[in-house]
Symmetry: C2
Subunit: 141 residues, 2 copies
DNA sequence: ATCCCTGCAAAGCCTTTGCAATGCA
DNA sequence: TGCATTGCAAAGGCTTTGCAGGGAT
């Protein structure tokens, strides 16, 4: 079963309706190799469904995030990126060209010390590195 | 020398001009115990300087960020938070009430493996935990 | 048949920008 | 005095909302 089908099943399993629009959005998410924004998804889906509205794209993305199958990344670049990739990984953003790369990291190492008396129930952890990729390295000695 | 004075000195040391507006913004940043947004700074400074403009606040905050004395936090809440605190720490956001807490973390543990061939020159690292604080803990068994 | 979902359009929110006037160095 | 900085107002970009019609279950 493809990723698209699996996600569609998950939608239905939660009592949500599977519409052609939602399937197209999920398809677009799977097609992107990495970290599209809502507008990029919107643009891609519009190629096949010219009547697709912003509302539908944003609503669907929000639902998928609530279902915990999609990760929302706010990188401070003015728009949110979405990440369907599974497994734990950190993100590496190039301050020059804006490209985003996945990098593995040791989840255990980052885990909050249980001795710290914050009392929070942790749901999610995001690790974001900023820097310059080889192509954008500033000229310094 | 107070934190305010120290930051003002740093401004001048970089050839920037020290205006009353900038001093007021720095003062407001120091007054806040934690993580104000640009609008919160704007509102506070306006109490004393009713003519303060958005442009000045946003420009000054951006400069301080460029000077690396202020950290910009994008928590996906629609607005950016600013953090004058020194030293490495992660942030803990409550998904219920939105409060933000600092938590210590082991910077070394998070460091990217140099064996990973990403080739980036890392400038900055942000670790953000999301969860529920004791007051907002969802009712579950 | 129900009511969730969609499309349209407009509003909302935070942030940035343009430009003339001001004032710091 | 020169030029960075300010204030004002408006624009900009992304996201959300309201509502009536339509479609999935």
């Amino acid at each position: 079963m493809s990723s698209v089908d699996r996600l569609c099943e998950q939608l239905k399993a939660q009592g949500r309706r599977l519409t052609p629009q939602r399937r197209a959005i999920i398809q677009a998410l799977c097609d992107y190799d990495s970290h599209p924004t809502a507008e990029q998804i919107f643009a891609r889906v519009r190629q096949d469904m010219p009547d697709m509205s912003h509302a539908t794209v944003y609503n669907t993305l929000r639902e998928l995030v609530e279902m915990n199958v999609l990760r929302e990344l706010d990188l401070g670049l003015g728009e949110r990126h979405y990440d369907l990739h599974e497994g734990d990984h950190a993100h590496l953003i190039c301050l020059g060209c804006g490209r985003i790369e996945d990098v593995p990291y040791d989840k255990e190492a980052v885990k909050l010390s249980s001795r710290h008396p914050h009392g929070f129930r942790i749901v999610d952890c995001n690790v974001i590195f900023r820097g310059y990729c080889p192509d954008c390295m500033p000229q310094e000695k």
